[in-house]
Amino acid sequence: MRSILDRYAPASAFDEFADADGRPRAHYEALAATLEGISSADFRHRVTTVNTVLLQLGVTFTVYSDTRGTERILPFDLIPRIIPASDWDPIARGVAQRVLALNAFLNDVYGEGRIMREGIVPRELVYSSVHFEREAIGIRPPHGTFIHVSGIDLVRDHEGTFLVLEDNVRTPSGISYVLENRDVLKRSFPRLFEGYEPRPVDDYPRRLRDALLASAPVQAADPVIALLTPGIHNSAYFEHTLLARRMGVELVEGNDLFVRDNMVYTKTTRGPQRIDVLYRRVDDDYIDPLYFRPDSSLGIAGLFDAYRAGNVTLANAIGTGVADDKAIYPYVPAMIRYYLSEEPVLDNVLTFDCSDDAERQHVLSRLEALVVKRTSASGGYGMLIGPTSTHAERAEFGDAIRANPRDFIAQPVVMLSSHPTVVEDGLAPRHVDLRPFALLAGNRVDVPPAALTRVALVEGSLVVNSSQGGGSKDTWVLAE
């Protein structure tokens, strides 16, 4: 019998599964042994079954660029990614440390502004961020918590070192895939778990709920949480329904809420119901048409006043986007030293700041070797990948950088680690990243062992975003 592992040959990157000699690493040995016993035909059959299950469950996302508004399933790859405890522990510590520093930064930026006064983070970078919210100056959210939920994107370089690629502290998504992937894999392929005991992920909704409850305004005796979604056309709508269902909280849209006397209520069949914590999956710009975009129909008139009056917790708080602006990213290690007096556990990727004259010249002269990112963009949009770009694309980005240097950063191409992934004729190495999630309440950070592995399904591609042809894997964090 031919096994699907027969022709697995890692390319040049660090491979999660195989060591330099092509043998499975210790924590993958049991999985390799199981896979040896499975025929290609059997395996292909399971792939089809799994995709049908996902479609029936409606685990879909909407692709914005697709004019038909098609619902697609995020491709799920059957081969799990395994993270031993020795790798996870520093990840969890590093992520927690980073989130505490970013939260301190936000308290500072919207408060005293010490870090800018001391010249550690340039004032003009902060104030020029499109996500800096002037209206939020002077507002301290309940318990000083800005970043209740975050997702920190990590990659592994060619030596296998975990690096932070970017921070997501506005409305990071992806946790529903973590929950569903585990469910689907357990249901469709329990054999793969032989010899493993991955830490469970299904208590994430409970942990999220706990963090949200702990973030309620102090005066709320028996706090009520609601999850605010932009609605069914949002690409992460499935996730919103899943989290609301598993947390047992109401899923609301803007029109379901109203504000009276600076209190937030839902419109129910039994009259108004007071809301104390709003886990909002709507961006700052759309949250209150009176203060932000007046054309937004997603928001609630008066919500910002209720927030400013301290009557409702918004998770995440208003204005967090300044902390994950890509131009601020290079300063995060300095923030960690400044606020926590600690050395960063996880390093950044080397980053060139295009607003600096010397660094910009360097970037412009080496565009074909660098990845250029728009500082305000996310989701894999607005990027130039130098080595695979055309001359015309480079010229376009060069002009854009010269016109608005503040809007761009550049990084060397990080050769993301690779992982066995199902392809047409067996398994092949494909590049992966890792997004652990962190929950913050006050100064307590929880990093559940529920991380999302995204995989670039196109051979050689380094872009893992779902909008750009990425898929995902079940991710096993081992207890020891």
Partner: protein, 303 residues
Amino acid sequence: MLSRVAESLYWTARNVERAEDLARLIDVTAMRSVDRAVDAERRWLAAYAVAGIAPPDGEIERNAAIERIVFGSETLLSITSCVRIARRNAIGVRAELTTEIWECINGLYLFVEAHSPRAIGPDGASSFLHAIRESAQAFGGICDATLAREDAWMFLRIGRYLERAAMTARVLRAMEPDAGPHVWQLVLEACCASEPYARARQQSFDPVEALAFLALSITFPRSLRFCLHEVDHALHRLSGAPVGTFATSAERTSGRICSSLDYAGAADLAREGTANVAERITAALDELGSSITSAYFPRVPVG
């Protein structure tokens, strides 16, 4: 419960019920037209009238009827449109539904979307309609089997029984059963009442008894009276007011319709005439629908 959510649940259930009822109606009409070609055109016109869909200008025949009433996407009243609307509403309230309910409605949608008049072919209509009907019935069953008897369940129930009563009334109105026993037979089949009626009334066929069965039976689950009592009961459980009293205009309307049926006799209905009874109940159901909307789904904040 959020008013928006309540309203979506109500419309989900109404549209699923309508899809089921239309599937049954089209199936029995198509069956009948096979061996009673002489009557076929009138039967199909009646089916269009029950569905509320305008018949085409050309020939009135089976294939065109199936295309329009089953698959028509230019109207919101066809079976496919009902299924789409039901799923669209269900998506908006996914957090309220159990996974099993969602999978059922999503499965029905995927099934319907995967078919077309061409795909089901000249002989496939019956099994296609059968599958829709079963799936729609499974929806009701799964709701009953997996939901707590709380507000969500009540609104689903109100939607289901209000729509069912409306369909029974429309069938009575549009199919002109008094044209003869063979039409009455078709009406009973369209309401899945043929066998229950036969069991309940073992004498020879009597149109007065048939009308009384479809309108006044307190045990047959598609009769007007049965359906209205279900709606009335659910409305009272929502408000907490005892049956026989009312807390909202919705309960007042449903109570009034219930008593008009509770204290009517077969002879009263016969005197009033099938068409008039159907007309009166249809108007009352429209009023009930509006009063439910203003009591529970107001456009402006309540309280």
